[in-house]
Structures are given as structure tokens and as C-alpha cells.
């Protein structure tokens, strides 16, 4: 086996039942693994004519070289397919324990094509791969499915990814789940899996991961664990969820305010949940493979059953649905996990419908007789059931935002979305870093793929600077500060006050490009970015380059990782461009432009002019055409993407570049 690799890509055609193994080495040099490999294969092996739910769409699960190793946070899997939510590349990164098990079985990726005639699941044990009947599993929730497969195959060590009834029903934004709280949640990857009649993939591997320089790799990982340990409280769900007001990171309802008077109530509501697990308090509750953050909470309330949740789940249902009652939250999230549906998208779509209902734009005639008011727990629960079952008004809310609006009426404005993916609850208005991150995020729906959270306040002046940045000496911080400093010098030269704070647009576009590359490196190597400087946890790309070098036994520099990330960014962009998107779609929902929110920053708003300026800077930083947002011919050539360039020229998308 190759160092740090499972060494094989497993290709399965569910239509014909054909199973082929291909060496990962074919892709390692340019694409490394994980997200890089997925984005490349989606581009080269599908064309724009393929619809998300066609059998010809491909569903990919890819690991990076770090997955399954001693690198902190190495449980990651990147899932990708053409998304039924956005119509472009869907991407979702999941943790848990399944990825490492797949690596130990000798694989780096699973690439699925076709559609099975009947419900099936895939069972993998090292070299043996079998497509098995799943008729008896169809209809089971995601917890029970995993139990049933372990029992059937007679091995409790088996790890499973699966869909729930929502995925089986091909509901708009279904998830792929593993263990309890881990999900490929966004962009409808479970919907694609359901459309292929694939219930689950069960894996058992015993081969391990070979390391080229084990002693050196061991020491590097041990040191990384030591460095990040004191910084880990930052990632604990209890700290995130339990903040006192104001909570500047969140938004209420459909972006009504950035503060919530009931936040205190929400915080206090945690108490009974925590008391059941006092022995684990402060020592980590649960989390993913080989991760000391233990950022997730594990609850086991007698009358409610068990539940695992991470920080974003608290807010996306409580804040968005304006209900601080943790019991209704518990019920909502538990149902989403068991039935396999994205809690973030579901709560956003329900919040949108509630607003329409309260404004009188829809009535009980539309909602199947349900009184859809804010914080009406029963109504929200019933609506979620209907979405999962694709029944009545639930079928409307389970559609993607544009379709849902169309189904209700011509004059209905769709919910807040970016590139078709419903927004979460994070405050993307009052921090320019988040604003641009959300606008240009290649998969839409949030800012997490083009924003590094520890850069949010990065700037200069009295209220900004390096505050909150855990590692000011890191490559990330220094590179980011050099961008800020250049922008400050430019401002000063223009006779302006040399200050950049969270509300200033200068430097934010270039920082978003840098952030996207940093995030892409983690998603490609198979490391959780919450274990890195992304979330202020101290270790970053310097460690990643060293660990990869020791693990593979050949030098990889920071610059090479960043170049690979730039290649992946341009490859992902080329896919979007080929699908017909332009810089127009890199934008905020109409509602959020020129929009001010009550709360912490009531006077702040983002104008279209500022947004466009930040976008210009972002495209420039990535070597893309500022007018069109298309990677330039020079950029594509420099990144070894000549084939992509020829393809774009052939498609008429790169006209302006032909010399």
C-alpha cells in the first residue's frame, strides 16, 4: 500500500453491478485526495446535460491522505455530486468514524454511478466488495439501519453511512448519516444516494495506514496535539451554545436581528440536559475519530432517547425558528438525524413559510390546515414530518428555494439562499469577511468554504487587529496580515484614514481567496478544519505540510499545498461556469442587500457596490477574469489545467481569452 493511502479508488456502477478498482496514484499528484479528487472527477466524468437525479450523476466519497492517521481530526470524508438543491456541484464534508475504516479497508474513494433496480446496500470488507439487497432495511431510520447492518453482517466494528426515509423519498435536501450526529448535511447528497436506490455503505477494514517516517510523523502529531490542547475550549459546543447575549454571530428568524432576548432562556434551558452527563463535563462529550476537541454533545434523556449534536444545530433550529424551548429543539434535531434530512435547510424553509403565513401571503389552504406561526411547536413538528414524507405542503417546502416559491405563486419571493442553497443562521451581514465568503462560496448556502473564522476581525485600528487570532506567527496569520498591510498602505496613499475593521471592504476579497484555499487544503487532506487555525485552534498549514511530507516520505511545501488548492478552486469554478453560472450568482439574497438588522450593529449594511468591489478583488486574487468570473487562460495553464481550458473554449465560455 502507498504511504498515507488506501491506494485504491473503488468504482461501482449500481446499474450493472460492475465493480472496478483503480489506483489512487492516478490522481494524487495534482489533486491530492478528498475534495480535490471529487471536484476533478465530477468535472471530467459528467457533463452539463446530466441532471442531479439522473443515474448518470456520480456520488463520491473521498478521503484525504490524513484520514485515519494520527493527525488531529482525521475522521473526515468529503462527499460530492451534482446537487439537487443548487443544480451545481454539491459538496459536504462529514466526520465520524467511517472514513478511517474505509482507508483501513484499502480505499481512498468510492465513486458511484448508475441506479440500482431495487434498494441495495454495499458491504465492503477489505478486498471483498458486495452489492446486497436492502429491501429489509428500506424505511428504517438512520440509527436502526446501522444497527441492523452490523447485526446482519455479524461484526459490531463495522462502520456505516446511510440514508434515512427522507433520502429514500428523494426529498430535496436529504442527508447521509453516520454514527449519530455526523452527516453530509448540506446540498442534498442523501437525495442523490436515494435516487440511486442505495441505502447504505458498510465498511470494515483491518489493513491500517502505512507511514513513511513513522517516528517523525508521530512526534509531529504529538506536538500538534500539545499545541492545540489549551485552545480547544473554543470549539466546545457548550461554550458556543451557552454564550450570554449579545451573540453577534447569529441571526434571528429570517435575518430579523442579530440579538435575541430569549438567548438567556435558551442558555439556561441547557441545564437539565447537561446534568445528566456531569461526569463528562469539561472533559469532552463525544466527537469524531482521533479528535481531542470532542466538540459534540451526547444526550440521553430517558423520555427522549439519545441524541448527539454540534454547535450549529442549536442555532439553526432555535434561532431561525425563534423557539428557545430545548425540548422542541431536541425533538426537531433528533427527527432530522433519524430521518436523514438537513436540519439547517429544513428550518430555513419552515421559517420562510412561517413568515409568508404571518404576512398573509399563504393561508391554511396552502399549509394543509396547519397554523404556521412562529414558535408553534406542533405546527413545526408536523411540517417537518410532511417535508420528510413529501406530503402536501411538505412537498413544496422540501423543494429547492426557487421551485418552492414557484409552486406557491408568481409573486412569492424565495427564501434567503445563495446559489440555490438555503442559508443557515450565521450573521453574514455585519462582517465583510463573512459577506464575501458567503457570496463566493462555490457550493452556496453559507460562508464556510471561503472564510476563515479567525480572520473575521482581522484588520487594524482600535477595535480590530490580531485579537482572537491564536497563532499570530502562523503562515496563515502572516499571509493574511500582509494582505491587510498592503491595503492599508494603499488607503494611506489615497489620503484615506489607514484603518480596516470588520465593516471595511478593503482586503476582504483577497482574504476570502486565501481563506478558500486554506479551507480547501484541509478538505483535501482529510483533516477537520475546526482542528486548525480556521477555528483558532493553533495548528495549520505549516503542520499540514510537515505531516504530509513525513507521512509520504517526500517533501511537500506550503506553497505546493496552496497551489493545489488554487488548482482545485479553478477546477470547481470551471464546473460552475460550464453549468452556466457567472459572477452574477456570486451574490447575497436580494433581501440582504442594503439591509440593516436590529441588534448589535443596527446601522451597518452591505451595498451592492461594496459587494462587487470585494468580488473584483477575490477574482483577481485567484487569477480569474474580473468581468466574467471565469479563470483566465493563463491561470488555467499555470495550474496544469490545459484540458479544462480547451473544454471551456469549446463550450464558448472562454472567448475573451483566445489570443
Amino acid at each position: 500500500m502507498g504511504y498515507m493511502r488506501g491506494s485504491n479508488i473503488l468504482r461501482i456502477d449500481l446499474g450493472s453491478g460492475k465493480i472496478v478498482k483503480e489506483p489512487t496514484a492516478n490522481y494524487e499528484k495534482l489533486w491530492i485526495g478528498g475534495r480535490g479528487l471529487n471536484s476533478r472527477i465530477l468535472y471530467t466524468e459528467t457533463d452539463p446535460a446530466v441532471k442531479p437525479l439522473d443515474p448518470a450523476n456520480i456520488l463520491m466519497f473521498s478521503l484525504g491522505p490524513f484520514t485515519g492517521t494520527m493527525v488531529p481530526g482525521s475522521g473526515r470524508v468529503e462527499v460530492s455530486a451534482k446537487s439537487p438543491v443548487s443544480g451545481i456541484q454539491g459538496m459536504s464534508n462529514m466526520g465520524g468514524y467511517w472514513g478511517p475504516e474505509l482507508k483501513y479497508a484499502g480505499y481512498d474513494s468510492i465513486i458511484l454511478k448508475g441506479k440500482a433496480a431495487n434498494p441495495v446496500y454495499i458491504a465492503i470488507q477489505n478486498d471483498e466488495v458486495e452489492i446486497k439487497d436492502a429491501a429489509h432495511l428500506w424505511g428504517l431510520d438512520t440509527y436502526r439501519t446501522q444497527d441492523a447492518i452490523r447485526k446482519e453482517l455479524g461484526d459490531p466494528e463495522i462502520e456505516v453511512v446511510c440514508i434515512g426515509p427522507a433520502g429514500e423519498n428523494i426529498t430535496g435536501y436529504a442527508t447521509i448519516q453516520t454514527r449519530m450526529g455526523n452527516a453530509a448535511g448540506r446540498t442534498g447528497m442523501g437525495t442523490v444516494m436515494g435516487s440511486k436506490n442505495l441505502k447504505a455503505i458498510a465498511v470494515r477494514g483491518t489493513k491500517g495506514v502505512a507511514i513513511a517516517e513513522p517516528e517523525k510523523f508521530f512526534e509531529l502529531c504529538l506536538e500538534a496535539l500539545r499545541v492545540q490542547k489549551p485552545l480547544l475550549p473554543m470549539t466546545k459546543t457548550i461554550d458556543v451554545a451557552g454564550n450570554d447575549p449579545p451573540s453577534w454571530a447569529r441571526t434571528l428568524g429570517n435575518f430579523e436581528a442579530s440579538e435575541w432576548e430569549k438567548q438567556k432562556e435558551l442558555k439556561d434551558g441547557h441545564k437539565p440536559f447537561w446534568e445528566n452527563h456531569k461526569n463528562r463535563q469539561g472533559e469532552g462529550i463525544t466527537g469524531c475519530f482521533n479528535c481531542q476537541a470532542r466538540c459534540m454533545d451526547y444526550y440521553e434523556l430517558p423520555e427522549w432517547g439519545p441524541l448527539v449534536a454540534s454547535c450549529n444545530l442549536y442555532a439553526s433550529t432555535t434561532w431561525v425558528l425563534k423557539d428557545p424551548d430545548l425540548k422542541s429543539w431536541y425533538a426537531f434535531v433528533s427527527k432530522c438525524q433519524r430521518q436523514g434530512i438537513d436540519a439547517t435547510s429544513a428550518s430555513r424553509m419552515i421559517a420562510w413559510a412561517i413568515e409568508l403565513y404571518e404576512q398573509g401571503k399563504i393561508s391554511q389552504n396552502d399549509t394543509d390546515g396547519i397554523e404556521l406561526n412562529w414558535a408553534n411547536k406542533t405546527a413545526i413538528g408536523r411540517m417537518l414530518d410532511k417535508i420528510i414524507k413529501k406530503e402536501g405542503f411538505g412537498e413544496v417546502l422540501g423543494s429547492n428555494p426557487a421551485e418552492a416559491a414557484r409552486k406557491i405563486g408568481d409573486d412569492i419571493e424565495e427564501t434567503t439562499q445563495i446559489k440555490g442553497v438555503p442559508l443557515g443562521d450565521t450573521n453574514i451581514i455585519n462582517f465583510r469577511a463573512r459577506t464575501i465568503g458567503a457570496a463566493v462560496n462555490p457550493r452556496g448556502g453559507d460562508e464556510f468554504r471561503a472564510r476563515v473564522s479567525s480572520f473575521d476581525n482581522l484588520g487594524s485600528g482600535k477595535d480590530a487587529g490580531m485579537t482572537g487570532m491564536a497563532s499570530p506567527d502562523s503562515w496563515e496569520a502572516k499571509t493574511a496580515m500582509s494582505i491587510i498591510d498592503a491595503a492599508l498602505a494603499k488607503k494611506e496613499k489615497a489620503g484615506e484614514k489607514p484603518v480596516i475593521n470588520q465593516f471595511d471592504y478593503e482586503a476582504r476579497g483577497a482574504l476570502a481567496a486565501l481563506s478558500q484555499k486554506i479551507s480547501t487544503v484541509s478538505d483535501t487532506l482529510g483533516q477537520c478544519k475546526w482542528n486548525t487555525i480556521f477555528a483558532n485552534v493553533g495548528i495549520g498549514i505549516e503542520f499540514q505540510a510537515k505531516a504530509l511530507s513525513a507521512g509520504e516520505g517526500r517533501q511537500t511545501s506550503i506553497e505546493e499545498l496552496i497551489e493545489a488548492a488554487a488548482r482545485i478552486a479553478s477546477q470547481e469554478r470551471a464546473y460552475i461556469v460550464r453549468e452556466g453560472m457567472t459572477r452574477e450568482q456570486d451574490t447575497l439574497p436580494k433581501k440582504l442587500l442594503n439591509y440593516s438588522m436590529e441588534g448589535t450593529y443596527p446601522d451597518d449594511k452591505v451595498t451592492l457596490e461594496v459587494l462587487e468591489k470585494m468580488k473584483d478583488e477575490y477574482y483577481q486574487a485567484l487569477g480569474w477574469n474580473v468581468e466574467t468570473g471565469v479563470p483566465t487562460l493563463d491561470t488555467l495553464r499555470a495550474l496544469n489545467l490545459e484540458d479544462v481550458a480547451s473544454d471551456l473554449i469549446k463550450q464558448g465560455k472562454l472567448n475573451d481569452e483566445i489570443k
Binding site: P156, E157, L222, I238, V240, N279, I285, Q292, G468
Partner: protein, 176 residues
């Protein structure tokens, strides 16, 4: 005095860090299958339980007694049982005799292996993020376990008295 690894299973959260680091340090690859400590999981309908399992350093060690080639002895420095790779014939007698399944024939080596306490500095204890493992003097196991039990009672009393508990939140940490 020899030392032992004490296990607090209620604290284990199943991260497998002990397994990954043990296999890397001792077997030069990342492979839980070849780790000398395992977090044994049991999951049913979302209820999760994990119990770390490794060599308990028995006073009367069945592994040592049944070994047909006298390959197992005590390290005079740490008190840990060690298996001589030279002598071991990989017959699995020790695996069958061990009440915990702690020693096992490694398929890569063809020899039996068991926790050697990493020469007095067990890596599993060092990396455990949940406080589920402790490395203590063998004569302190008893008091360590008693203290853990006492802590559980204290915690229960706190719940009854509705004390605020450690639910403290710090500002400026809202990162999501």
C-alpha cells in the same frame, strides 16, 4: 513499585486516539487493529458505550503461566508484562488464557503482542482527551477508583441541590 493503566470507562468517548497513537508508536503504522489498547464500542439505537480494554497486569498472569515457550515475563523496570519476540511462536495460548483478550497474535509479525506500557510512558494515557485513562502506581489503583466513585456521589449531590455547576460560558467564543 510497578505502575498500571487505570480505566474509567464512563469517561471514554470512543475517539480511538489511544488506538491510533499506540499502533503508530509500537507498530509503525496507524491501525487500530494492531493497537494494544482498544476502545470496545457498543451501540444500539443511538445509545453509545465505550469501554477501553488493555492488559491489566494481573498478579497471577495466566498468559505467563500457559506460554509453552516461556516467552512472557515481567519488565523489571515498569512491571509490565513483555513478550519476547524471539521466543514467541504465535500459538495464541496467551490470547485464550487472558481474561480480557489483551494479548493477541499480530498478523503482521506472526507473534503475540501485549501492552508494554511504552517503556514507562504510555502514549494512550498521554493522548486520551476524556480522562478515561490514568497511569498510576499499582498500589494506588484502589484509592484512584474510590476517588472516582466519591466524585460521582458528589456530582449526584450537586444535581440534587441544583447548584449552578460548571455551565460557565466565556464571552467572545461564539465561533460558528
Amino acid at each position: 513499585m510497578s505502575k498500571v493503566i487505570v480505566i474509567y470507562p464512563e469517561k471514554c468517548s470512543g475517539c480511538q486516539m489511544c488506538e491510533v497513537s499506540c499502533s503508530l508508536r509500537n507498530m509503525k503504522e496507524c491501525n487500530p487493529e494492531r493497537s494494544r489498547i482498544r476502545a470496545i464500542k457498543s451501540e444500539e439505537n443511538g445509545q453509545m458505550q465505550f469501554i477501553p480494554s488493555t492488559c491489566m497486569q494481573c498478579e497471577t498472569a495466566m498468559c505467563e503461566l500457559v506460554c509453552p515457550v516461556n516467552a512472557i515475563s515481567r519488565d523489571p523496570q515498569t512491571g509490565a508484562r513483555i513478550i519476547s519476540e524471539k521466543k514467541c511462536i504465535g500459538c495464541s495460548s496467551c490470547s485464550y488464557a487472558c481474561p480480557f483478550g489483551a494479548c493477541f497474535v499480530d498478523r503482521g509479525l506472526g507473534k503475540s503482542i501485549v501492552c508494554n506500557q511504552c517503556d514507562g510512558d504510555p502514549i494512550c494515557v498521554k493522548v486520551c482527551p476524556s480522562g478515561a485513562l490514568e497511569y498510576v502506581s499499582a498500589d494506588q489503583v484502589n484509592i484512584s477508583l474510590k476517588r472516582a466513585a466519591a466524585q460521582r456521589i458528589l456530582n449526584a449531590q450537586e444535581i440534587i441541590q441544583e447548584s449552578p455547576g460548571p455551565l460557565s460560558a466565556k464571552p467572545d467564543q461564539d465561533l460558528c
